[in-house]
Symmetry: C2
Subunit: 510 residues, 2 copies
């Protein structure tokens, strides 16, 4: 298995730094590959290294230390649903764990192959060879797409039809449709279509007990929604192989504005009004002063709201006019020339909105550079009701900053809203701090614990769109009702009686 | 237990016809009431008769025949979550089935107390004494409401706060919040907030294994959504006792229009364009020529689209202007004076839109009158992708009409869209036919079978918002993936090990 343009096995994106030879040698101590999988599986050290971790801060640190102590024994690259089923059969028979792998961009240990429990090995199931758009229904604006399609390839296949999924998580370049669905990914829409969930029309999921295929339905009231059991199941209940997803026409009109507020609190009040207005902007990203200065040209004391509407149908002036009016009612400053309404793509790449967009896409690359120079670069994100936000935010900004000083000696913490709902925002916190070489993981763990405990205590969710994986288990276990955990485990025993799929993610066997 | 204003125990709404004395005598043969339940349970024949059926055509026929052969043995009226748990405990210990009951408006046998299997009796759990709005969070526009609250009482309690749930199913007068959630009820919004699902922020559910309480969250990506397991569970997994629901400000602006189309097919094309425009009208009800003539002043050959927008925030002219433009692009006729934009309530009660609204609310009362004069009055509803709609509709109109003639000698069949999605409509079919006294149920069953088989074969759902209950089991069993049924049963065994809750609804024990 050779690739022309290879992905960095430890960092973001394509290869810039080659793997260390000693690490490769250690990885080469692989188990013998079973005959049944020979045609589709690899035990090449580079493949195994690439699939050892996701792309979290913790992953980057371990990879830079050349710590690949728990790689998968094989990486299988199935090309069909039947081959996925074959791999799962083999795993169940042989007592091997299977870790489904889409783009590998998990930042929560969702694809990590360090597996506790009584397994004879681990196979990573890489879906990258199942990446085609199989069918398009123009009338219903929907497409049947294989789960392994990464963002750009998926959009490339839809573009000739004038259609788009318009789900752009920050990981877009290197994350897959199946991964988005398995983790309830959050896209670029700040309102309305925040998660991938609402774009899913039907699913095909291969479980060790057989295939689950749901019916294509625009809506239904027939029992609990079957898709919703698998959306967010993070590879523990089955391997998503295909989905029918709801598409949109490619937008032809855009309206963008930057709104300045003297304080973050003013901005919060304006965004709450916007979220409850029914206007549903595509972009409604409120940046606190720190974030605004770093990524949207702010002056360091003001908050900036990046506001945008998009449509393939209608002129957006009335929407933007009313949104700006609401912002101004809440002490927002919007010079008339900061409002742009356009019928072409360029509009989104200009002004503060454009600056923000470029730093959004570039952030994961930057993170790797920071890791290599000894900076702890981490994010955590949540959602909470408006009622509870102020208290949560005060606690986070005070206690996590204190923790940065205590643990790292210094650090910065900033906040933005990535998504907003009528009943509350999804705040996203970014932190940077100097770390001591060799104790990065301990320092990271301490800070993460402080943040998670505040989220739990304040009734916020442990994750709005980064998923649970292995890293958020403590917070998730506290958030999820215990009886729901028992119901999920019971469902898992039915679908995956050998407990083959992604053990340790979401829940334990007990 | 006495009420001043009593509900009709067999028909819709309040009492017009008293119960037959012979039936009451038969029902009086009740089992002894257990001491533990004495304070909250009744074995009064009128209470038992009122809780024997829902409000379907089949229920009305059986009640008019004075066939109450399987009433509940007791009706419990718990006033607290602890009392709900006590009743479930008693049922589990004594081998008694429990049927949760909200407003009792099920049209699919969802609250029927004819229970197969090895049970020593049946208790209906009537939630009507848990009907209060407990808490309001104005900032997040949400309220904590007890599940037994019927529509009008719920809205009455929200009105002083300037808030509204705005979920108006046709059964609004006599259906409850808990019932809406348990059955994935469809409200009056034709787009965007079609089902109650999206209004649910958090739930409390009492199961025989304990209480499930989910966290109030505007959004989350932490595992499969816990609420979604209980939304649509139809009383089989637990008794919903409370929910935090998302509210809205009371609308202050409305825009309405009636659009005429020379044919239903023209109207379908226009509605598809509207559904994909992003305008998201509150009302978008397309009536076929038969339906338009009956309930919206149509001339018998034209289709009529009842179109409406509502907002508490902004002037709706731009929305309505573009919607009308789209309709005209698709051969819709809208005289300028048929478009009304208003800032007061009266606007919704005028013109064709008003005529339609009155017949919507009045329909259930009318149905009872039809039953008593020997008319089969039934409805069935579904959802399907745009791609599949035309074929489905042709088959339904041809084959169900043929069935009416074959089975009843004559009959009318009409269609409207109650809800529309970007990927497809939710068509709602109404039929009227003469029936032979004494064989109403057989004739009903034959017609229902013809309709259900077409829905199944064409890939449509067996129900968009009427739920599954006992009557839609055949169609549901075919639609639902078998492995999902197994997962649901496994979850049920965990939450309800004694299989006490609403046996026969959604799935069987096997």
């Amino acid at each position: 298995m050779r690739r022309v343009k290879r992905r960095s096995f430890w960092g973001w994106g394509y290869e810039g730094a080659g793997p260390d030879e000693a690490a490769r040698a250690r990885l080469a101590q692989s188990l013998a590959e079973p005959a049944a999988l020979a045609a589709i599986a690899s035990d090449d050290p580079w493949d195994r290294a690439l699939h050892t971790y996701g792309r979290s801060y913790r992953d980057a640190v371990r990879a830079q230390r050349r710590d690949f102590s728990h790689p998968p024994d094989w990486v299988a690259f199935p090309t069909s649903e039947a081959e996925v089923a074959d791999v799962l059969d083999h795993c169940a028979r042989a007592g091997i764990a299977a870790v489904p792998f889409g783009g590998g961009s998990s930042v929560v240990g969702g694809v990590e192959t360090r597996i506790d429990g009584d397994y004879r090995g681990v196979i990573t199931l890489d879906l990258s060879r199942m990446a085609r758009v199989l069918e398009i229904d123009r009338a219903s604006r929907a497409a049947r797409i294989q789960a392994g399609a990464l963002g750009p390839a998926l959009e490339d296949q839809l573009r000739p039809h004038g259609l788009t999924l318009r789900h752009f998580p920050q990981s877009f370049e290197f994350s897959s449709l199946g991964g988005w669905i398995a983790t309830r990914s959050g896209g670029h829409f700040a309102t309305r279509y925040t998660h991938i969930d609402d774009f899913v029309e039907a699913l095909r999921v291969v479980t060790p007990s057989g295939v689950v295929a749901t019916r294509r339905l625009p809506g239904s009231g027939a029992g609990p929604a079957p898709d919703r059991l698998f959306i967010g199941s993070e590879g523990t209940l089955g391997v998503i192989t295909e989905a029918w997803v709801r598409l949109q026409d490619r937008p032809t009109r855009r309206a963008n504005a930057s709104v300045r507020f003297a304080s973050f609190a003013d901005g919060v009040r304006a965004v709450r009004a916007l979220s409850q207005s029914g206007l549903e902007p595509a972009n409604c990203r409120l940046l606190d002063p720190g974030e605004a200065a770093t990524s949207a040209g702010g002056n360091g004391s003001e908050a900036i709201l990046v506001l945008g509407f998009e449509s393939a149908d209608h002129d957006l002036d009335p929407w933007m006019r009313r949104a700006v009016e609401l912002c101004r009612d809440h002490a927002g400053v919007v010079p008339d020339d900061a409002i742009r309404t356009r019928g072409d793509d360029a509009a989104t790449r200009e002004g503060n909105a454009g600056t923000w967009r470029n730093s959004f896409i570039g952030a994961p690359y930057l993170r790797d550079a920071l890791v290599s120079i000894g900076v702890l670069a981490e994010t955590f994100e949540t959602a909470i009701t408006w009622d509870g936000f102020e208290r949560l935010h005060q606690r986070v900004m005070t206690e996590v900053r204190d923790a940065l000083v205590r643990i790292c000696g210094a650090g910065t913490l900033t906040c933005r809203f990535t998504h907003v709902y009528p009943d509350g925002p999804a705040p996203y916190y970014s932190l940077l701090a100097p770390v001591n070489r060799g104790s990065e993981l301990e320092q990271w763990g301490e800070i993460k614990r402080v943040a998670s405990e505040i989220l739990g205590a304040e009734g916020a969710t442990i994750t709005h769109h980064h998923a649970v994986g292995r890293d958020h288990r403590d917070g998730y276990d506290r958030e999820r009702p215990e009886l729901f955990a028992r119901a999920l485990r019971a469902a898992k025993r039915e679908l995956d009686p050998g407990w083959v799929l992604n053990p340790g993610v979401l829940f334990d066997r007990a």
